[in-house]
């Protein structure tokens, strides 16, 4: 079971983390804002993308089949993996058959989701992350804290220190030096590794094209130099037509980094053809379900599968900005993690995720495909409460309290009477005394703030007496 509450104190007390978060999100405006505001028909693009996704999800089997046919026609192979474990096992088996000892990896959140690196290491296969941020994270033995910028929680100094310690780099504060060190080391891995593993941003059903967006050129190399390319994709990543890419790329890239285009958009159609000079001889596309079809079955929750992993919701989320990504304790973090984690697993497995949000709606406002994240979180809260109270032998105290509360709120007489009693209690115990009452609602509130003083009379009392006067 993942408990966010267990990680909050540590995150809040970590001054370096707090400084890094503040610098990344609060002190500098996100480049997204300008990149979005200069597109006059942004809302139209969002609606289009939302509708295309909704349509695709409603006909997912057809589109996945079409994708499979096209990939096969081009000489690639398609693997259907119902669980993360099946996907991992395929990769391990293939590596063993081909004698692969080292794998270069492009950034893939799905590979994090299925814990691929751990499994590869256990099988004595060395995974080398080649995205700079991922490389930093791997060196540090950590997990990504952000979808798009995995090492965002680290400062330049922390990264430089890490490189000095792990790679023997001469001490420097220069980002260029750090990058030159990484480039040199990774170039060697690119030229020697025999397998490249990447994620997928979009897969086009009509053409069988796999699209991967990047800036560094590490994906380009990972899918070009090694003999084998494995692309891992969640089944929700398929889109119907090539032309839809124009819209999705515009939305994804501007939302993620504020760029108009990334340096590279790799559109891949299977392994190298015999008359081409280079490229992988084998291409595998692994279609991963791992809980997605369960989400698909719920017409409302299905919207969450439209997510294109741009990370904009993380960038604007005040909760994420306050505790960082690691405190979520899950692969996906921020609003999309709060939504996806309990959906992919269960509300019992991630009981706090849906509650770790003030429901401010900033995520929904920026989401390029218009996912109503706060509403999904509310539905998840509902699911959590109903499952909790169905499972338990007796109703939880909270449920009983809520039932009592609802009864009071449906009865104006009870409501008014309770108000009067509370004011009497308040008179007896005083303002601070209320916090010492054994009611968690009060004590948790009063840990950080005082309760407002109760006035001698409620509005309704004042109103009825003023009516008597006039």
């Amino acid at each position: 079971m993942i408990k966010i509450s267990a990680n909050v104190q540590r995150a809040l007390a970590d001054e370096t983390l707090q400084g890094n978060l503040r610098r990344a999100f609060v002190d500098t405006p996100h480049p997204r804002d300008e990149a979005v505001s200069e597109v006059p028909n942004w809302e139209e693009l969002r609606r289009y993308a939302r509708d295309v996704k909704a349509h695709t999800l409603s006909r997912l089997p057809e589109y996945l089949q079409s994708l499979e046919e096209k990939v096969l026609e081009q000489g690639g192979k398609v693997i259907w993996a119902e669980t993360g474990q099946e996907a991992v096992q395929f990769i391990l088996d293939l590596s063993h058959r081909r004698g692969v000892r080292e794998v270069v990896k492009g950034k893939s959140m799905l590979s994090e989701e299925i814990h691929l690196n751990r499994a590869l290491e256990r099988a004595q296969i060395k995974p080398v992350e080649t995205d700079l941020g991922e490389y930093v994270i791997q060196l540090a033995g950590e997990k990504p804290s952000h979808l798009v910028a995995p090492a965002l929680h680290k400062s330049r100094k922390e990264i430089a220190d890490l490189f000095v310690q792990k790679l023997g780099m001469a001490p420097t504060g220069d980002v260029l030096e750090i990058i030159a060190t990484a480039r040199k080391l990774l170039r060697h891995h690119f030229l020697t590794a025999r397998m490249g593993i990447t994620g997928v941003n979009f897969a086009v059903a009509e053409t069988g094209t796999i699209v991967i967006v990047e800036n560094e050129g590490n994906v380009g190399l990972s899918v070009s130099v090694p003999e084998i390319h494995i692309a891992l994709m969640g089944i929700e990543k398929v889109i119907p037509r090539s032309r839809d890419l124009a819209v999705f790329l515009k939305l994804l890239i501007r939302s993620a980094t504020g760029q108009k285009m990334t340096s590279y958009v790799n559109c891949l159609n299977g392994p190298r053809r015999s008359d081409e000079l280079d490229g992988p001889q084998e291409f595998y596309l692994i279609l991963v379900d791992n809980g997605r079809s369960k989400i698909l079955a719920d017409d409302f929750m299905r919207q969450s599968l439209s997510c294109i992993r741009c990370g904009a919701c993380l960038d604007v989320c005040p909760v994420y900005q306050t505790i960082g990504g690691h405190a979520y304790g899950s692969t996906y973090q921020g609003p999309l993690g709060a939504m996806l984690t309990p959906l992919l697993t269960s509300v019992g497995e991630a009981p706090e995720h849906a509650f770790a949000s003030s429901l401010c709606g900033a995520c929904h406002e920026v989401c390029p495909v218009g996912i109503p994240i706060p509403q999904i979180l509310l539905k998840l809260r509902e699911r959590f409460q109903s499952e909790r109270n169905q499972k338990a032998a007796s109703l939880s105290l909270e449920k009983l309290a809520m039932q009592g509360w609802a009864r009071v709120m449906c009865s104006p007489i009870l409501y008014a009477r309770l108000g009067r009693w509370a004011r009497m209690l308040h008179k007896i115990f005083g303002k601070s005394g209320m916090g010492r009452l054994p009611i968690p609602l009060f004590s948790r509130w009063m840990k950080h703030r005082d309760l407002p003083a109760l006035p001698p009379r409620s509005f309704r009392e004042l109103y009825s007496s003023s009516q008597e006067v006039s």
């Binding site: 429901l359 401010c360 509310l378 809520m402």
Partner: protein, 241 residues
């Protein structure tokens, strides 16, 4: 014009002066104001924590009380949102209740929106010679899209010095149940907010939601800050009777 007030449970029990101010403003503008004492709560505390059935019970009670009202005015962005946006969703599977909820929702207005958009009021005639700033409460801003109306009314207050704070539209961390379930995160978010309020130079922070104000005030008091919180209605009612 006749208006039914929905005073909200928090205002009723904790901050009756906000209700009085709301009434005062409307009466000054020549509106006939009515308060139905059968009213209680909009149901948000249950809805917000996942107790949909309990929320529905309370929402049904609300619709019973306000089913026939012409205009319902609420001095809260969050409770207006509950009625206008979330009631219809609560009754998604009950078409007659849903259409009633939708109708009532259309007749429900947050106070500043009612003053600006329905009555076309530019100024309430209030006077307040102080430096103030405005905190956008999330539901009012993002669910109802109301941000210019309260600002216009504040700027129109005589002798006021209105200064925008940085990140005025960032959540203060209240979030209803969130403020107690994740009290530490909520307070950390609130402390950021308090920082921006203080660096704006304002002596008063104005907002349209009592929840945010209670949270912000609690934090300000712990810091022994001289900055005061004030509900928009209280500010707009600062005129001679």
């Amino acid at each position: 014009m006749k208006v039914s007030l929905f005073i909200t449970c928090l205002v009723d029990q904790f901050f009756p002066q906000i209700g009085i101010s709301t009434m005062k403003i409307l009466r000054k503008l020549g509106v006939e104001v009515e308060f139905d004492s059968r009213q209680t709560c909009c149901g948000q505390p249950a809805f917000n924590t996942g107790y949909a059935e309990e929320a529905r019970q309370v929402a049904r009670h609300f619709l019973e009380v306000y089913g026939d009202s012409d205009h319902i005015v609420v001095p809260s962005g969050s409770c207006s949102t509950m009625i206008k946006v979330f009631f219809p969703k609560l009754f998604a599977e009950d078409s007659s209740q849903r259409s009633l909820a939708e109708e009532v929702g259309q007749r429900t207005f947050e106070l500043s929106d009612f003053l600006s958009s329905v009555l076309g009021v530019e100024s309430t005639g209030a006077r307040f010679p102080e430096v103030v700033t405005y905190h956008d409460s999330c539901h009012l801003l993002r669910e109802l899209g109301i941000s210019s109306q309260p600002r216009q009314l504040i700027r129109a207050v005589e002798a006021i010095d209105f200064r925008e704070m940085d990140h005025c539209d960032r959540c203060c961390g209240f979030g209803g149940a969130f403020s107690v379930k994740f009290s530490d995160i909520s307070a950390a978010m609130g402390e950021d907010k308090v920082g921006w309020i203080q660096s704006s130079g304002a002596r008063y922070v104005i907002s349209s939601d009592v929840g945010c104000l209670m949270h912000i005030r609690g934090l300000l008091e712990r810091q022994q800050s001289p900055v005061q919180t004030m509900h928009l209605a209280e500010l707009l009612a600062k005129f001679e009777d």
